[in-house]
């Protein structure tokens, strides 16, 4: 009896200690040195998430004995470089940073390794990795069954999240207070407020910053979130085929609104604006509002991050007429780590992915590492996270309000980049030229083009 009590107490002590100290240090049975001496090549996009990983690479090398060589590329060119590297089938890089949409192109091409066998193998994954701790919307968005048109959430796990981004409205509260203007809640109010804030501080300042460069990244943040909230759909399956729905009434109305918003109060050089320029303008006090990723504004608000740090606040998605909060559909972007299917060091690569997605690292990156949009529930629930991220005005509240409907609003299919780049091109034509007589004409032509692009896809 005495022995049983002692053993129970010892077990309890072990469980308690596993909760109290960093996961890796505690799981003594897991052999982190199994691939000592291996060299891994890693490709990163230039981002706060990758900065956090890079900062901790020396610790990873010390803990595992795995040497890491990495490269960092700005987002505008990152995926082109990655496409070329993966298509060479050389196995370099072993690990790469990716988004959820890229899964639809890379996984069917055979560039991505299915991570389920690694996650589910106790010999390869530490017992305290706690897969179930990932916020379902993030980890499930990285699963796909490779069937075009099928929603994410089913099939193999192709990547593991580093962080996720919802898209919503953020604004400079200093400017709003100075001008005595209320934060817009509806799309009509947004148009009115953004127009009123044009040149709020002289030439070069304007109402609302949004992306506009000729690429897929222009479609997925603010535009797609409002598009979905408006009731628009990109594709639907009809008679076993993917059919583009960009000529629907909702799609035309929303696009027409968006084009007018940019013309009335967007950046003067909108068609060259990427994530960097749009968020930098909010931070520099050039733009009064930003409709983009939650984190885009967050980085500008971090102390010393920009001229307007501390002045930025967050709202949700302005509602079109007849829509309620329940209709808000924020589009989601998930920065993730994936493994090259041609890697020669797959187990070591999984160690890297595992190390930089475990609870210990995520707790650090979510708080001290400035990666506000953590994909782990335990981090979100921690006092340290709430204390730091909670300082951002209405940040957590906006995320909580948008989370229930937040998901990837696009239809998964391997021609995603061709379709969204063509979409962005049409948007640019509508804003900067008189190529089309109306938005309706442009969207009908776009629909015809995209139907042609996806025509060879087999949909079950």
């Amino acid at each position: 009896m005495k022995k049983r009590v002692i053993s129970t107490m010892l077990c309890a002590a072990m469980v308690m200690s596993s909760l109290a100290v960093p996961a890796m240090a505690d799981d003594a049975s897991f052999d982190w040195k199994a691939y000592d001496g291996t060299t891994l090549n890693v490709m990163f996009n230039e981002h706060t998430y990758s900065k956090a990983v890079i900062e901790k690479i020396p610790e990873f090398e010390k803990a595992t004995g795995i040497h890491v060589e990495y490269s960092t590329t700005p987002e505008s060119n990152y995926f082109d470089k990655l496409n070329t590297a993966l298509s060479s089938r050389s196995g370099n890089p072993d690990v790469f940073m990716t988004g959820a949409y890229q899964v639809w192109e890379y996984a069917p091409a055979g560039y991505m390794e299915d991570l389920d066998p690694y996650v589910n193998d106790p010999a390869k994954t530490a017992a305290d990795y706690d897969y179930d701790d990932f916020i379902p919307a993030t980890i499930e968005s990285l699963r796909w069954d490779l069937v075009p048109g099928h929603a994410v959430g089913e099939g193999s796990l192709w990547a593991v999240p580093m962080g996720w981004e919802l898209n919503n409205l953020s604004y400079n509260k200093r400017i709003f207070e100075e001008k005595g203007i209320e934060v817009p809640k509806t799309t009509d109010e947004l148009m009115e407020t953004a127009t009123a804030l044009n040149e709020f501080d002289g030439s070069g300042t304007y109402g609302i910053a949004v992306r506009g460069s000729r690429e897929w990244a222009t479609i997925h943040p603010g535009y797609m979130s409002l598009f979905a909230t408006w009731g628009g759909k990109d594709f639907e399956i009809e008679d076993g085929k993917l059919v583009c729905k960009l000529d629907s009434e909702e799609a035309i109305a929303m696009t027409d609104y968006w084009v007018n918003l940019i013309k009335q109060a967007g950046p003067p050089q909108w068609s060259t604006y990427t994530w960097y320029q749009a968020s930098a303008d909010l931070g520099a006090g050039k733009a009064a509002m930003l409709f983009d990723a939650t984190s885009a504004a967050y980085f500008q608000n971090v102390e010393g991050g920009s001229a307007e740090s501390g002045n930025i606040a967050w709202s949700t998605i302005p509602l079109p007429e007849g829509k309620t909060e329940a209709d808000m559909k924020a589009n989601v972007w998930i920065w993730s780590l994936a493994m090259n299917a041609d890697s020669k060091n797959k187990d070591a690569a999984w160690y890297f992915i595992q190390y930089f997605s475990n609870k210990e690292f995520m707790q650090w990156s979510g708080t001290e590492g400035a990666c506000a949009d953590t994909p782990r529930q335990s981090v979100m629930d921690s006092d340290g996270y709430k204390e730091i991220v909670g300082k951002a005005d209405n940040y957590l509240e906006a995320i909580n309000a948008l989370s229930p409907n937040a998901t990837i609003q696009f239809t998964p299919q391997p021609y995603f980049f061709e379709c969204t780049t063509t979409w962005a091109e049409t948007l640019q034509d509508l804003v900067t030229s008189d190529k089309y007589a109306s938005t309706e004409e442009a969207m009908k032509q776009l629909k015809a083009t995209l139907d042609e692009v996806v025509s060879d896809l087999e949909v079950e």
Binding site: N83, S203, R214, S271, T272, V431, T432
Partner: protein, 315 residues
């Protein structure tokens, strides 16, 4: 019949001589040309591969491909995007070359005429843009032309011009990228023209001076004809580069707004690397290659004729 016998005898004789020539001597000519042959084959292999893959459905995202014969070519020529890209390519090359050649020649003439300490300093300063990679120059110009923080915007504000669209406008995008190209490449034209000017013989100019020839007369009848070979060389190099232009346009607008700046190189790059359709991308590049090949041959012919003319070998 007699003739046949003679040739027959000569044939026997030559065979006999051939047999006594040592193996090394017989092989030597082939060995001498072998490196050139290998290099030529090495250069031609990618072209041959490009032609082959342009007849297939080769894609980075598919494990296999099939031969589609002329499908990619027919699709390319029937797409309005191809003709638009061709038109953008030609316009970009035309504007950038005309401006750079005229500006390069004007600067070279001024520097050659001055030939003092100032001109020597300017010669060094003016070639600085050539030392910068075009993509780096594009990033610097992007910052300078930014409406919020750009120095050019502040300068224009003095003249009452605000928010000039530069690369963001359909009507000003071409102007913007040609302007950057001009900044980067004018020094190249200037250098070649200046080298040509400094190699001109002095006696014709001295004779013309004695005969009372005006500056304009000397320029049109002496300088320009003798300078033509250098001008053709500058034109050849700039034309080839301008037709292939990629980095400035991609760095500035990625081909936008809309398809305003989508030239053949960018369209091929987008199709091959962003959309991962390698086979359909190749006709764009091969058309560009044919264009450049034909124009280069034409200019080289002109350059040779001008060289003979300048040397007084033909009228």
């Amino acid at each position: 019949m007699k003739q046949d016998q003679t040739s027959g005898a000569a044939g026997v004789s030559s065979v006999t001589e051939y047999n006594v020539v040592p193996f090394k001597t017989r092989v030597l000519p082939y060995l001498i040309v072998a490196p050139a042959l290998i290099i030529t084959i090495g250069i031609m292999i990618p072209f041959a591969m490009a032609i082959y893959y342009s007849l297939t459905s080769y894609s980075f995202r598919m494990p296999t491909y099939k031969v589609t014969y002329l499908k990619n070519w027919v699709n390319t020529f029937t797409k309005p995007g191809f003709w638009k890209a061709l038109w953008v390519t030609v316009r970009y090359a035309f504007f950038s070359i005309v401006i750079e050649m005229l500006l390069g020649m004007a600067i070279a003439l001024i520097l050659n005429t001055l030939n003092n300490r100032f001109s020597r300093i300017m010669r060094v300063c003016l070639i600085f843009p050539l030392m910068i990679a075009p993509i780096t120059a594009t990033i610097v110009w992007q910052l300078m032309l930014n409406n919020s923080v750009g120095v050019v915007e502040h300068l224009l504000n003095v003249f009452g011009i605000y928010n000039f669209p530069w690369a963001a406008g359909t009507k000003t995008a071409m102007l913007t990228v040609v302007m950057i190209d001009t900044w980067v490449n004018t020094p190249f034209c200037m250098l070649l023209v200046l080298a040509g000017l400094q190699s001109l013989p002095k006696s014709p100019f001295e004779s013309a001076k004695i005969d009372g020839g005006s500056t304009w007369f000397n320029f049109v009848n002496l300088t320009l004809p003798m300078l033509k070979p250098s001008l053709y060389i500058a034109l050849l190099f700039r034309l080839m580069a301008a037709l292939q232009e990629y980095s400035i346009i991609f760095g500035m607008t990625k081909g936008g707004p809309g398809d305003t700046l989508m030239n053949l190189s960018l369209t091929a790059y987008q199709t091959a690397f962003q959309y991962q359709k390698f086979g359909p991308a190749l006709p764009y590049i091969l058309v560009l290659w044919l264009m450049i090949n034909y124009l280069a041959k034409f200019i080289v012919g002109k350059q040779r004729a001008a060289q003979r003319q300048a040397a007084g070998l033909e009228e």
